[in-house]
Amino acid sequence: MQRGPSEHITSLLVRWRGGEKAALDALMPLVYDELRRLAHIYLRRERGDHTLQSTALVHEAYARLVGQNLPEWQNRAHFFAVAAQIMRQILVDYARSRRADKRGGSACKLPLEDADGDAKVANVDIVALDDALESLARIDPQQSQVVELRFFGGLSIEETSEVLKISPSTVKRDWNTARVWLYRELDRTGTT
C-alpha cells in the first residue's frame, strides 16, 4: 500500500508523545511548510474576488499530512495542537495582509463561510480575535490555549483535555468562560 507523508508525521507525533523533544522540532517545519505552501496556493488563487474561499485548504493539508489512519486518536490531537498554532498564524497573517492592503479602510473580516453561505458561524475578525486571545493569554494562558485548540485546531473537548492534560470538565469550563470573555473583548473593540 502506498504510504505518504502521513506515516512520517505519525511517527514523529508518536515520538513526540513519547517525550522526545526533537521530534517536535522535526515536526514543526514539516507541518508548517505544508500548511504554508497550501495556504499560499489557495490564497494566491483566491485573491481576486473572494476572501478565503472555503475550499480544501485545511482539509487538504490535514489529509496530506496525516491521512486518516493515525493509529491513535491522541496522535491526531497532538497533530492538531501543532496545526492549530500554525493555522492561527497563517490565517492571522493573511487577514493582516488583507487589512494592510486596505489601509485606512475598515477592519477586514474574514468570512470563513462554507459554500452554503452559512457565514454566521464564524464571521469573526480573525485579527481582532488573535489580539484578544493574546490579551487573554496574559491573564489566563490555559483558557487562551483551549480556544486556540478548539477554534483553530478543531479539537473536541476530549482531545483538548488530552493535549493539555486537564480534565474535560475543566476544558468545558475554560471554553465557556473564555468565549464570554472574548466576545466581550471583541465587542468592546467594536469588531463583533
Partner: protein, 963 residues
C-alpha cells in the same frame, strides 16, 4: 488585570453563571459585598453570556473551511461498477487507498479480483502521479510469488485504480503457526519470499514495506507478495523525492527508514530479517512493549536484537502455559537448532548499518541454502567484508554504493548485467541523495526561511528551520572535505545563516551565539580554501569578505570593535595583496573600499559600531577608502552601490569631524554627501539612498545640536523623522527603516526638549522608547539606545524640577547601559554613555543633598574614565566626559566645604575643589569648539562655568588667612 485577580473574578463568575438567572443577583450581592469592581466585572461577563454561548466560535475554522469536502470515511463504494468490475466488499484500506474485492461482470471469466483505488477526498495531483507510477511498476513485475497486476483504469470521477490478483491466503507468520511448520519448512518458505524480493530488486523495485501482512501464503502453500505500492523505482527521472516524507511500518522498518535516510535494497534485507526472526522465534526482535511505537522506534535504531536462540530460551522461561501453536517453537530443541548459523544469519540481516547486512537478498537466501545443506555460511566469515566496508564507508558517501562495491570486490556473486545496473543506479542514488540534502539545506535557508521570515510569530519556525539546515550542512561538510565547490557552497550557506541569526536589523532570533559559530565555520572553510588555492583570486576575496562580515558582526552586533578591528585588518591585508596581484579586478576594489570604510568606521566609532578610539587613524582609512572607491567607480561605472559608497564615506568623514570638534567641517561633508545622493536618487529610486538621505538629515541635526543652534537642530531632526516615516509607509516590513524611525523619533524628542518644548519632546522620546523596548531581540545596541533615552528622560525631569524622578531615570539608564556592557558592548562610547549617566545621577543626588552617594558615583565614574584616557589620548568625546566628572567632583568638594564645621576642614575641601576645577579647566582647554551638548548628546557645563566656579572657590579660599 493581574492573572490572580482574573482567577478570582472567573471563579465568582463561574459559580454565579451556574445558577438560575433569578438567583444570580442576590448571590452576587453576597459574594461581592465589599468589592465593587469584582461585582462590575462579573455582571459585565454575565451580560455577554447568552450572546457568546449562542454560537460564537462554535464551529472550528477547519470545519468551516472544509465543510463542503467529502469525508473519506463515508466513501463506501460497495456495489459500484468500475469498468467490467463490480465492487463487492471492502477488504482493506490504508493511508491512501482502499482495497475492494470485486468481480468481473461481463461474463468473460468467473474471476474475482482485488481492486485498489484512491480514497475520495485525497485525489491531489501528486497522489495521482504516485498512483499511476505504482501501476507502471507493478506492470513490470511478473513473478509467481508476486501478486499480479491484471488491469488498471480510471473511474468516471477521475480516480485511478488497479486491478490485481486476489490472493486468498493468510499472513506468513500465521501460516507457519497454524501449519506447525518445522524450522526447515519455514526456511524453505522464506527462501521463496526472498526469491520474489530479489526478482523485484532486479527490476529496480524496492518493496520498503515488507511485513507478514504483505506476505500471504495460499492454501497451496505458495507465498505471494502484496503491495508493492510504496516501492519506488530506482530511477531518478520518476522517483518522487522521499527525503523527508518517508513511509514506514515501524516494527518492520529499518533503522535508516526510521531516521529518514536513503533507502536501498538493503532496507528490504533488514525487513526480511525481521520477518525471519518472527518466523523462527514467534515474536519481534525487539523486546519492547509493542503498543508503544516510540519505544519501538528507539529500540530499532539503538538496541541490538537478542539472538533468536536466546530469545526462545528466555521465552520458554517466561511463558508457563504456551498455546498449542507455540509449543513447537518454545522448546529447547528448537532453540538448539537456531543456535549458531541461524542466529548469525538473522542478526546479520538485522544489522543497524546497511553496509554490514547481507548486500543482497540473494546473499541472505544463499546463506540459508548453505545452512540447509550444511555448508559453512558466509555470515560467519565476514570480517574482511566488514573491514573493507568500513574503509569504503569512510571514503564514500552512499552506503548502498559501498555495499555493492564490497560484493564486487569480495566476489561470490555473479554480476549479471541487471545487477550491475542496480549497482550503478544505487551509486547514482547515493550521489543523488547527497545532492538532495544539499538542495534541501539550500532551499531551507534561501526559500523556506525567506518565505516565512516576515510572518508574525514565525521566529520559532525560523529557528527550527535554520538549525535543521545547519545540521544538514554539518553532515555534508563532514563528507565533502575534498570537493572545493561544495565547500564554497557550504561556506556561503553558513555565512547566510550567520547573517540571518545575527542581523541587528532583523526581527532578531536571539541567536547571537549560534550566529557567531556559523560565521566561524564559514571562515574556517574559507581559510582552508584560500590556503589550498592560493592562486584562486576568488577564494582570497571571498575569505576577505567573510572576515569583513564577521568584523561587522563583532562590531555592530556584539559591540566588540576591538575584535572587529582585528578581522577588518585581516581583510585589508588580503585585499591589499590581491589588489597588487590582480589590479584589474573590480571586485577587489569594491571589497577594499568596504574594508577601509569599515576600518574607518571602527576607529572613529561611528554609528552602531562603538569605537576603538583613534579618530585620526580612522579618517586616514576613510580617505583611502574614498580613493579606492574612485578606482572602483572607474572600473564599473554603472554599479550604483559603488557610486553610492562615495557619499556614505562623506557621511562618515562628517561624523569624524564632529568627533574632532569640527562641526563646520562636518557640515561641509554632510552637505557634500547630500548633494551627491540627491543626484544619485534622481538617477534611480533606491530605498537605501533615500534612507541615507534621511540619515543625513539627522546628522545635520547633530551638527546644529553641537553648535547649540537648537531650533535648527529641531527642524533637521523633524525632517529626518518625517522622511523615515514616509519611507516606512512604502515598505512597512523594512527593519533598518524601522530602526531609523525609532532613532529619529528619539532624537527629535531630545532636541524639542532642549528647545524648551517639553511636552512634545517627551511624546517623541516615549514613542521611541516604547518601540525600542518592544523589540524582542534586545541587542546591546538597542539597550544602549534605551539607556540614552533614560538619561534624556532624567534631564527632562530635572528641567521640570522633579529631582527624585530624575534620579530614578538616571539609575535606569545606568542599569540599562550596564546590562549592555555585560552583553559585551564595552567599547569606548558605551563606557562614556555609562559615565555620563553616572555623572548625571551624581549631580542630581548632590542637589538632593545626598552628598555621600554623589561622591561615590563621581569616584566610580572617574575610576572608569582615567584609564580610558590614558589609552585614548586626544579622544574628544572622552575629554568631555572627564571634564564633566572632574567638575562634578569639584561640586562635591564645594558642598563638603560648605557643610564643614571646622575651619581647617573647610580649607581642605576648598583646596580640593580648586584642584578639581583646575583639572577640569585643563581638560576643557584641549576641547575644540566646546559645546553645551557633548557628542554623546549629554548636557555638560561649559568651560566658562567651570572657570566661574574655580574663581569662586579661590575667592572663598582667599577669605581664610593662611596660617
Amino acid at each position: 488585570m493581574t492573572p490572580e485577580r482574573w482567577q478570582q473574578i472567573r471563579g465568582v463568575y463561574e459559580r454565579i453563571v451556574a445558577l438560575a438567572p433569578e438567583d444570580r443577583s442576590s448571590q452576587l450581592d453576597q459574594v461581592a459585598l465589599n468589592d465593587a469592581e469584582l461585582r462590575q466585572e462579573v455582571e459585565s461577563l454575565l451580560s455577554y453570556e447568552r450572546r457568546a454561548q449562542d454560537s460564537f466560535l462554535d464551529t472550528p475554522v477547519a470545519n468551516v473551511i472544509s465543510g463542503t469536502m467529502p469525508r473519506s470515511d463515508v466513501s463506501v463504494r460497495t456495489g459500484r461498477r468500475l469498468g467490467v468490475y463490480e465492487l463487492i466488499e471492502r477488504i482493506g484500506y490504508g493511508g491512501m487507498g482502499e482495497v475492494y474485492r470485486a468481480a468481473r461482470i461481463d461474463g468473460q471469466y468467473q474471476q474475482e479480483v482485488a481492486i485498489k483505488l484512491v480514497r475520495s477526498g485525497y485525489d491531489t495531483t501528486l497522489l495521482l502521479e504516485r498512483f499511476r507510477h505504482e501501476r507502471q511498476i507493478l506492470a513490470t513485475l511478473d513473478h509467481p510469488n508476486i501478486a499480479r497486476l491484471l488491469d488498471g483504469g480510471t473511474t468516471e470521477d477521475g480516480i485511478p485504480y488497479l486491478v490485481m490478483e486476489l490472493i486468498d491466503g493468510v499472513p506468513i507468520d500465521r501460516y507457519c503457526l497454524e501449519q506447525k511448520l518445522s524450522i526447515v519448512e519455514r526456511l524453505k518458505l522464506f527462501r521463496q519470499v526472498c526469491a520474489a524480493v530479489h526478482y523485484a530488486h532486479q527490476h529496480l523495485v524496492v518493496h520498503r514495506d515488507l511485513k507478514p501482512s504483505n506476505i500471504l501464503v495460499t492454501a497451496n502453500g505458495v507465498p505471494k507478495l502484496l503491495d508493492f505500492g510504496i516501492a519506488k523505482i530506482l530511477d531518478p527521472s520518476t522517483q518522487v523525492a522521499p527525503t523527508l516524507l518517508n513511509a514506514l511500518t515501524p516494527e518492520y522498518a529499518s533503522p535508516e527508514q526510521l531516521r529518514g535516510e536513503s533507502i536501498t535494497t538493503s532496507a528490504d534485507v533488514y525487513s526480511l530479517g525481521v520477518v525471519l526472526y518472527r518466523l523462527l522465534t514467534g515474536h519481534s526482535p525487539y523486546r519492547v512493549n509493542t503498543t508503544s511505537p516510540a519505544d519501538l522506534a528507539r529500540a530499532i535504531t539503538e538496541i541490538e536484537p537478542e539472538r533468536p536462540s536466546s530469545a526462545v530460551l528466555r521465552k520458554i522461561a517466561e511463558v508457563s502455559d504456551p498455546t498449542p501453536k507455540e509449543i513447537d517453537v518454545l522448546s529447547g530443541r528448537w532453540a538448539r537448532e537456531l543456535r549458531g548459523d541461524l542466529d548469525t544469519i538473522v542478526l546479520k540481516a538485522l544489522r543497524k548499518e546497511p553496509q554490514y547486512r547481507y548486500s543482497s537478498v540473494e546473499q541472505l537466501s544463499e546463506d540459508i541454502r548453505r545452512h540447509l545443506e550444511n555448508l559453512p555460511v558466509k555470515a560467519r566469515r565476514g570480517s574482511t567484508t566488514y573491514r573493507l566496508g568500513k574503509f569504503l564507508l569512510r571514503h564514500r558517501i552512499g552506503v548502498a554504493a559501498t555495499a555493492l562495491v564490497v560484493i564486487a570486490i569480495t566476489g561470490g556473486v555473479v554480476t549479471t548485467v541487471r545487477e550491475a545496473r542496480i549497482a550503478d543506479r544505487n551509486a547514482k542514488e547515493a550521489e543523488k541523495r547527497f545532492n538532495e540534502v544539499r538542495k534541501l539545506a539550500n532551499s531551507l535557508i534561501f526559500e523556506v526561511h525567506d518565505s516565512i521570515k516576515d510572518l508574525p510569530g514565525a521566529n520559532k519556525s525560523r529557528k527550527v528551520i535554520l538549525e535543521r539546515a545547519v545540521e544538514y550542512l554539518d553532515s555534508l561538510a563532514q563528507e565533502s572535505a575534498n570537493e572545493p565547490d561544495l565547500v564554497r557552497e557550504l561556506a556561503t550557506a553558513y555565512e547566510r545563516i550567520g547573517a540571518l541569526q545575527g542581523d541587528p536589523m532583523d526581527p532578531n532570533l536571539g541567536e547571537i551565539k549560534a550566529a557567531k559559530g556559523n560565521f566561524i565555520k564559514s571562515i574556517e572553510l574559507r581559510e582552508a580554501l584560500a590556503r589550498a588555492n592560493p592562486h584562486n583570486s576568488k577564494d582570497q576575496i571571498e575569505l576577505a569578505v567573510a572576515y569583513l562580515d564577521y568584523s561587522d558582526f563583532q562590531t555592530g552586533v556584539l559591540g566588540n570593535p576591538a575584535a572587529g578591528l582585528d578581522y577588518c585588518n585581516k581583510a585589508v591585508a588580503l585585499l591589499d595583496r590581491e589588489a597588487v596581484a590582480d589590479p584589474n579586478n573590480a571586485r577587489v576594489f569594491v571589497q577594499s573600499t568596504r574594508a577601509y570604510t569599515s576600518l574607518g568606521v571602527i576607529q572613529i566609532g561611528n554609528g552602531a559600531g562603538g569605537s576603538t578610539g583613534n579618530v585620526v587613524a580612522g579618517v586616514a582609512a576613510l580617505k583611502k577608502a574614498l580613493e579606492l572607491d574612485h578606482r572602483a567607480i572607474k572600473m564599473s561605472p554603472s554599479n550604483m552601490e559603488v557610486a553610492g559608497q562615495e557619499f556614505v564615506i562623506y557621511i562618515l568623514l562628517g561624523d569624524a569631524m564632529l568627533k574632532l570638534g569640527e562641526p563646520v567641517a562636518a557640515e561641509e561633508y554632510y552637505r557634500h554627501s547630500m548633494e551627491g545622493m540627491n543626484a544619485l536618487s534622481d538617477r534611480e529610486t533606491n530605498i537605501r539612498t533615500a534612507g541615507n538621505l534621511v540619515v543625513l538629515d539627522g546628522k545635520m541635526g547633530d551638527v546644529f545640536l553641537r553648535e547649540d543652534k537648537i531650533s535648527d537642530a529641531v527642524s533637521w531632526y523633524r525632517k529626518a523623522h518625517d522622511g523615515a516615516g514616509r519611507l516606512i509607509a512604502r515598505d512597512p516590513a523594512d527593519q533598518p527603516l524601522e530602526h531609523l524611525v525609532i532613532t529619529s523619533s528619539g532624537q527629535l524628542g531630545h532636541a524639542l526638549m532642549e528647545n524648551g518644548q517639553m511636552d512634545a519632546g517627551l511624546e517623541y522620546m516615549h514613542k521611541a522608547f516604547d518601540a525600542a523596548a518592544k523589540s524582542p531581540s534586545q541587542t546591546p545596541l538597542e539597550k544602549i539606545f534605551q539607556g540614552i533615552l533614560f538619561t534624556w528622560f532624567g534631564e527632562a525631569a530635572e528641567k521640570r524640577g522633579r529631582l527624585s524622578d530624575a534620579v530614578q531615570e538616571y539609575r535606569k539608564s545606568q542599569a540599562m547601559l550596564a546590562s549592555a556592557r555585560e552583553d559585551g558592548a564595552n567599547d569606548l562610547r558605551t563606557q562614556i554613555y555609562y559615565t555620563s549617566a553616572t555623572d548625571r545621577l551624581a549631580a542630581a543626588l548632590l542637589k538632593l543633598g545626598k552628598l555621600q552617594e554623589a561622591s561615590t558615583q563621581y569616584n566610580a565614574s572617574r575610576d572608569l574614565l582615567e584609564p580610558l584616557r590614558k589609552s585614548n589620548p586626544g579622544e574628544q568625546e572622552l575629554l568631555y566626559a572627564v571634564a564633566e566628572t572632574y567638575a562634578g567632583q569639584g561640586d562635591v568638594s564645594m558642598q563638603l566645604a560648605k557643610l564643614a564645621s571646622k575651619r581647617l576642614d573647610k580649607i581642605l575641601h576648598l583646596n580640593d575643589a580648586v584642584e578639581w576645577f583646575q583639572k577640569s579647566s585643563t581638560i576643557w582647554s584641549k576641547i575644540k569648539n566646546p559645546s553645551r551638548i557633548s557628542s554623546s548628546t549629554m548636557e555638560v557645563r561649559l568651560p566658562a562655568e567651570v572657570s566661574r566656579q574655580l574663581t569662586h572657590c579661590k575667592t572663598q579660599l582667599a577669605a581664610f588667612p593662611t596660617n
